[in-house]
């Protein structure tokens, strides 16, 4: 495992904290050169980590981020679209700004990043794009009308991009994670999360390795025949 990604350039969005930080550190641990996008400055210090302050919801900011990557390398192998925001609230009282932010970050963000990434990946005719979705897309919990819709949306988007990019040997898949203890989760009611967790076929929080296991599979050289798939953790379907 140690040098699994030693020849790979990886982009992780939302790499400053939470799942994105864990994912970036996983790829670094296994030899990858990792680029991170997030609104804030870098919290990872590693000789193979390069951070760019990028707002994934803004196409110009994403284009600038890719121009920065291209100033370092013309090769990008793997993209993990992880950046996301959540506001859980009954629809009747959901603030418009919060709803729009979720659409912009969770849905348009992966689109802008995948669009630019595929332009780079096509030159090498190889690429792996994985969108991080959520169990909410399937479980459709109260309060998550917009959040769950954006997370279902990224899976649909990945499925269509998978068709468009298949001739270029670029796969697009979605990993729908269950709850993992991160900063984002702290914004939600623990009682609500525990209730959802207890209803899962495997009633526990996800561990980082549950996520790494699926990511390693989806981005592997051998997974070139796996595209337009959504994998749920914890038995959610």
């Amino acid at each position: 495992m140690e040098g699994l990604y030693q020849d790979k350039n990886v982009l992780v969005t939302g790499s400053r904290r939470g799942i994105g930080k864990l994912i970036a550190e996983h790829f670094l641990l296994h030899g990858a050169k990792v680029f991170g996008f997030s609104l804030g400055d870098a919290l990872i210090t590693h000789p193979r980590y390069t951070h760019f302050q990028v707002n994934v919801a803004n196409s110009e900011s994403v284009q600038k981020g890719f121009a920065n990557i291209k100033s370092v390398t013309d090769c990008l192998d793997i993209v993990i679209n992880n950046a996301g925001v959540i506001t859980a609230q009954y629809s009747m009282i959901m603030p418009t700004a919060a709803a729009q932010l979720m659409v912009n970050v969770n849905l348009l963000g992966p689109f802008f990043v995948s669009r630019e990434a595929s332009k780079v990946m096509r030159k090498k005719k190889w690429g792996r794009i994985v969108n991080i979705s959520s169990m909410a897309a399937s479980l459709e919990p109260i309060g998550d009308s917009i959040y769950a819709a954006t997370k279902a949306g990224v899976a649909t988007m990945a499925n269509i991009m998978a068709k468009e990019l298949a001739p270029l040997n670029i796969t697009c898949n979605t990993l729908a994670v269950t709850a993992i203890e991160t900063d984002m989760l702290k914004q939600l009611s623990k009682a609500k999360i525990d209730e959802v967790i207890s209803s899962l076929p495997i009633p526990r929080y996800a561990a980082p390795d549950d996520i790494f296991n699926v990511l390693d599979f989806l981005v592997s050289e051998r997974s070139g025949y796996i595209t337009a798939q959504t994998i749920y953790l914890g038995g959610v379907n």
Partner: protein
């Protein structure tokens, strides 16, 4: 600003890149009359997309100016910019002059 010949060279390079990946039987002719879009075009949809990405990237690199070839402005032209290499060249020159 780029001149007509420089823009044509960029488009020809993009067509040559496509030809590099095609077999001898599927080569696209590389001249100013080459049809890029429509019933007479020999480019499939993904090839056209690749050409657009290559041309947009090269124009930006050489001129320092971003030109979007698939925005509403392009789509609303009476004659499609993608009718031929000549129409695409003229369209790019028009956008660069704005």
């Amino acid at each position: 600003m780029l001149n007509k010949q420089q823009v044509e060279v960029i488009i020809f390079q993009a067509l040559n890149s496509l030809n590099d990946e095609r077999g001898p039987e599927d080569q696209i002719s590389v001249d100013e009359n080459t049809c890029l879009f429509g019933s007479e075009a020999t480019l499939d949809s993904l090839s056209l997309v690749s050409l657009i990405v290559d041309v947009e990237g090269a124009i930006s690199e050489v001129s320092g100016k971003e030109v979007a070839l698939t925005d509403d402005h392009a789509m609303s032209q009476e004659i499609s910019p993608f009718s031929s290499v000549t129409t695409l060249t003229n369209y790019i020159l028009l956008r660069l002059s704005e």
